[in-house]
Structure formats: structure tokens, C-alpha cells
Amino acid sequence: MTVLEQRGSRRSGSYWPAPPPAWRPRVDPAPLLPDAEPYRLLGTDAAGRIDAALLSDLYEQLVRGRRYNAQATALTRQGRLAVYPSSTGQEACQVAAARVLKEQDWLFPSYRDTLAAVARGLDPVQALTLLRGDWHTGYDPHEHRIAPLCTPLATQLPHAVGLAHAARLKGDDVVALALVGDGGTSEGDFHEALNFAAVWQAPVVFLVQNNGFAISVPLAKQSAAPSLAHKAVGYGMPGRLVDGNDAPALHEVLGEAVERARRGGGPTLVEALTYRIEAHTNADDATRYRTEAEVEEWREHDPIALVERELTERGLLTDDFVQRTRDGAEELAAALRDHMNQDPALEPMDLFAHVYAEQTAQLREQAAQLRAELEAEASDAEGATEGDIAGGSARGAAGEERP
């Protein structure tokens, strides 16, 4: 009588028939959602439980970090760095990200995160080769377990997932922590990385430094979500919202996430609320898109000041400690300045050295061409007057007006 064979009706006031067979809620979403308020320790009743040694360590690192940022920015003015994206104001994120990792863990920094690499122990000069105009990566990533500073936004996130996954497949005790900006969360790679991480239950922690801006674009034009941490539930991982200027709070939340990952508990997304006190880079003009008043508001919430108060509260901020900290930071800055004032000696022939494991015939030809040019240049230079020694290829670029 009907198109499909009839089965008897069983409507009974409650659900009928059974819900679609696929419907077995896979995980309880509630624990994956971030708290309504960003997590904080400093200035709260819970501040008392922060370990004193940790607090002092974080303080030292923050002060060093601030000094490092200032020095690097100064170097751009002196033409010693091509460009510097400062993390002033974000030092708590940088320091906490580095300090929660064990020796064998991996850090995946973006272009803004040289400080995190330095806080993990990387030589600042090596950390800055990219931004200096020297070779792209100035260190051996394997030696420091710091991936190359990554410029294309969010593209480092799948790398972190893959590396963590590989380590887990090999049975190694390795966690990867990857840094990304608020702007970077809009990229497809962010999405794909988090999804892979959750499906694979890879031991990886994602730290979004939400500093309110992607160059000039404010968060409100970037996302309409309640918070960026709310994205986590859509992948089936916990999302945590933290005051990104509260170093001990970040250290606790990231530390928990790292340990959870280490125990096989899978990935976590942490959103740290912070602020970029400086312009995007030295080349940027921040007055075009934000007010000084907004910056001031955030200066009031300075990550160093927050820790200082807790140290003062506990009587730990002694003159001696402050002096030692300051001296250490000055030492770091002086060493950086000294090293960066020396011109690096780049070998032009290295252009062809690492394109492939083995140089192709084509690259050998091209290398020979460059070598001949360099020799011609050198012999020209012997007889030439100063200012006339630039190679032909430099002529094209010279004489351009720069912005």
C-alpha cells in the first residue's frame, strides 16, 4: 500500500524511533569549554600557592626578556637588524612557554617568538639571524629542539603536530608546544593542525598569544567567537583561557597541558590574553589604528609589575635580587649588542650548498658562474676606487628610494 513497507506505529509520547544510529555523543563537551573568566593567580587568593623559586625565576626571565626586546628594537634603529617584531608586553607568554618544557620537548615559535627561544636557552644572536638579514635559521633546530622561526602564519602548527605524533609513534617522551597569534587562528592551517592533533591525540600544546591585533586588524575583525579558546571544543580538546600577563598562571596552565600531553591525554588549546605594547614591528606605525589610551590601559597590567608585586608582598624583591636581575639583563643586552655590531661573514657560495643533499648539475653550473663573477669583482676591486666595487647585481637594487 505504501512506497516502503509499513511498520507499526509506536508513538508513545516519548522518543520514537531511536535517535539516528550514529548518535553516540563522543565526548562530553562541558570540560572542554573554557571558564568564563581568564584564569589568574597573581592578585588573587590563590597567589599564595605559587612556588617562590618559580616566581623568582619567572621574574628574572621577564626582566631579561624586556631588556632583550629593548635591545633588539634599538638594533633596528642602528641598522643592525632588518626588522624586529617586539614581544614587549608579551614576555609572560614567551617565558612561560619556554619554561614549561623539558629538555627533550620541542618549541615551535613564530617570527615574534625569538624571546621564547632565548628563554629556552638559545643564543640571542643565533635567534636573530633571520631578522638580521643573515641566514634564515641561525641554529640547529635539533640541537635546541626549537623549530625554525616561522613566518607564514600558522604553518608551523601542523609541523608541531606531526613532530609530536612521530615522537609518540616512536615511543619517545616528547611534547611539542607551538605558538601562534590571534590573527594566525584564522588561517586554515590552524584548523587542520588542531583537528589532526585531536584525532591523533598527539602530545602537543597550542598557545595562542592573543595580543589584540594582527598588524592593524583588531580582534573584533578577526573573530566573532566568545573567545579563541572556545574553538577547542570543536576539535574535541580542552580550551583554556588565561591572563597572558600573569606569568605564574600561564606557567601553571601550560604546565598542566604539557603534562597531560606527556601522559597521553592529548592536545590542549590555551588562549593567553595579552597585548602588543610596541608597534607590529619597527617598520609599523601603530598610531594609525590604535589609541595611546588603550596602550596605557595595558601598561597598567604589565607582566613584570604583576610579578614584582607578588614578590614585594612576600618580601622577596630585595635590592640585591633586583640588582642581580638587572645586571644579568644588562649583560645579555651588552653581549647581544656587541655581537650584532660585528658584521656577519656570509659566504655567497653557500647559496648553492643546501638546496639539495647533493648539488645538481644545474646548481654546479650556476655556482661556477657566481664564483667567476665574484672573482671578477674581486680583481676589479683591487684596481677600483671605493664605491665602485659593488657587483652588477647590486646596482639594480641600489639607488632605490626606501619607504
Binding site: S186, V217, Q222, G392, E400
Partner: protein
């Protein structure tokens, strides 16, 4: 254009200013023109090409997007489907790569897919090339990818006047145009009148920038000034080089190019992009196919090396410069009487 009209009110202007003016005029002339991209509104773009447009036309006409290039291009496709004329800014060459699937699989194919029912009048502005001391990913010459994608037009200005004229033409085109802006020429200047701008250029026409009889330098975009400099330097060696600015890579102006090479009998293609698989191969091959019996020597190429773009401190060794061009010209088998040229 008459000389008087063109010269009226001319004063030094930068390529950046001309591009900005082209966008402004296009938006004023046609309310369907919408500018979109990262940082294009309040900031005016990292190169300030969109400076002032949001203020003048509102953020609905010149708006910041979220930071996602596939999303930018993909939504621009949808906007074009609905009859708008989006002008998309990719912030740097390498940051256009996330949008490649949208570009190749949709932008280039929508008209053909729908047999003309759904054209996509879309301009994709991409600052490209090196020579500005940019860190990794900020100096790519990515034109080979665009060139190999049927359905796209690929246009690149080398002069201030063309920056205006070609961008107007690109925006006016009913087809998608990848508009490559040679970023190291953004601050190059020429006398140009923003108040009586050149009429909208025709896409697909090359221009001879310097007539000459000995050989043709075929080039475009950032390498044009280098070639002109090389041509000047070459006179000291007795060579009278013709310099040809392609302006449009797709469509390609075979006519003008072949006429020049037939006249001179020799040619060198010059570009920054890596040599292997780069535009030079195509250009050399098609010139040879069409002008074989007029050639006194093989068409040679001066290109970037077949390496990832180098760090700023080494970039001068990578970029085609005057000496490398002249060296190559000297290899054009000059035993015969080159001063006469060898054309028919």
C-alpha cells in the same frame, strides 16, 4: 594621448601613488569595485597602496578581512559571482600561496566551467620580487605559477604610468587578473600626472622602452630598470640594445616580441624569478619557435638562480644585475657583424 594632455600637471609621483590613485579612480567610477585584504583599511596596507580608500569610500568598500588568504580569495569569488568587482590584496608574494587552490581550481576556471555564464571580474594584487632586504617569504617571484594556469591574466607594471594604466585595465577586465606589483619599484618615481592620468591601458601589449639594433632584452617588472641600465652601459661596449617591457605575461604579445627579435636577431630574457621552469623558458622557446631563422644565437636567459630566495645579505648575488646581463649579451655569438643587427 596627446603630448600636451599627458604632460599637463606632471610632477614626480611614485609607483605606489599611481597604484593608489588607480584604485581610487576605479572605486569612484564604479561602485561595484570593492577592495579587500589584510590591513587594507585603517592601515592602508603595509605598503600604503590602499591608503585613504577606507576613509573616502567606507570600510564596506575597502575592508580588512580576517587573516586567511584562501578565505579572502574564496569570498572574493563569491562576491564576483554576485556582480561585484573585488580587488584583493595579497600582503606579500609568498602569502598568496594559501589561496592557490581557490586560484587554480576556481578563479581561473569559473568562466570556462560555466561556459561564460559566470565570469569572475576579479583583480588579485600581489607585491612580488626581491631587492628590498625582506626576510624569508617576503621576496618571492612567483609568476611562474600564475603563468602556468590557463584562465588567468598575468600583468605587471614596470613604470609609474603603467602602474596606473594597467591596474585600471586589470580592474576593468571581465576576467581574473593576477596583478604583480614589483615591490622594489614602489618608491620609484617618474613625472606623472595624477590629475590627468593616462587612459586605461590595453592588456596584452608589450612596449619597447629603448629601441636598439644589436639585440633585444626581453623583460618585465622589477628587471626593467636593470635592463635599461644595462643597455646604457652596453653602449660603452658598442652594443645598441633594445629593451622590451612585456607588461602582460598572459596574454603574451608575440607580435611585438617577435618583431623586435626579428629586427635584432638576438635576444636575452631577463627576470628575477628562478630560471628553471620560470617564464624565461617559455619566452625563449616561443621566440625560437617563431623566429628561428632570424636568430644569430640562441635566446639566452638571465634569471635568479634555481634556489629558494636567499637571505637579504646575499640577495644581490641572486638578482640579475647589469654585469650578469652584459656577460650574457657577450655570449650572443658576435663573430658576425653585430653592429648591423641581423634582422631581415
Amino acid at each position: 594621448m596627446t603630448a600636451t594632455a599627458a604632460e599637463a600637471g606632471r610632477k614626480p609621483a611614485s609607483m605606489a601613488q599611481a597604484l593608489n590613485r588607480a584604485l581610487r579612480d576605479a572605486m569612484a567610477d564604479d561602485p561595484t569595485v570593492h577592495v579587500m585584504g589584510e590591513d587594507v583599511a585603517e592601515l592602508g596596507g603595509v605598503f600604503r597602496i590602499t591608503d585613504g580608500l577606507a576613509k573616502e569610500f567606507g570600510e564596506e568598500r575597502c575592508g580588512d578581512t580576517p587573516l586567511a588568504e584562501a578565505g579572502i580569495l574564496g569570498t572574493a569569488v563569491g562576491m564576483a559571482m554576485y556582480g561585484l568587482r573585488p580587488v584583493v590584496e595579497m600582503q606579500f608574494d609568498a602569502f598568496a600561496y594559501p589561496g592557490f587552490e581557490q586560484l587554480i581550481s576556481h578563479v581561473a576556471r569559473m568562466r570556462n566551467r560555466t561556459r561564460g555564464a559566470m565570469p569572475l571580474p576579479l583583480t588579485i594584487r600581489v607585491p612580488y620580487g626581491g631587492g628590498i632586504g625582506g626576510v624569508e617569504h617576503h621576496s618571492d617571484s612567483s609568476e611562474a605559477y600564475y603563468l602556468a594556469t590557463p584562465g588567468l591574466q598575468v600583468v605587471t607594471p614596470a613604470t609609474v604610468a603603467d602602474a596606473y594604466g594597467l591596474l585600471r585595465a586589470a580592474i576593468a577586465s571581465d576576467d581574473p587578473v593576477v596583478f604583480l606589483e614589483p615591490k622594489r619599484l614602489y618608491w620609484s618615481r617618474a613625472d606623472w600626472s595624477p590629475d590627468a592620468p593616462e587612459p586605461v591601458a590595453e592588456l596584452g601589449r608589450a612596449e619597447i622602452r629603448r629601441p636598439g639594433r644589436s639585440a633585444t632584452l626581453i623583460t618585465y617588472g622589477p628587471s626593467l630598470p636593470v635592463c635599461l641600465e644595462a643597455a646604457e652601459a652596453a653602449t660603452a661596449e658598442g652594443w645598441d640594445l633594445e629593451v622590451l617591457d612585456l607588461r602582460s605575461l598572459v596574454p603574451f604579445d608575440d607580435e611585438t616580441v617577435c618583431a623586435s627579435v626579428r629586427r635584432t636577431g638576438r635576444a636575452v630574457v631577463v627576470h628575477e624569478s628562478s630560471g628553471f621552469g620560470g617564464p624565461g623558458g617559455e619566452i625563449a622557446a616561443r621566440v625560437t619557435e617563431r623566429c628561428f631563422h632570424h636568430l644569430e644565437a640562441p635566446v639566452l636567459r638571465v634569471a635568479g638562480f634555481d634556489i629558494p630566495y636567499p637571505p637579504p645579505m646575499l640577495e644581490r648575488h641572486h638578482l640579475p644585475g647589469v654585469d650578469r646581463i652584459l656577460d650574457t649579451v657577450s655570449r650572443l655569438q658576435w663573430e658576425s657583424d653585430w653592429t648591423e643587427g641581423s634582422g631581415d
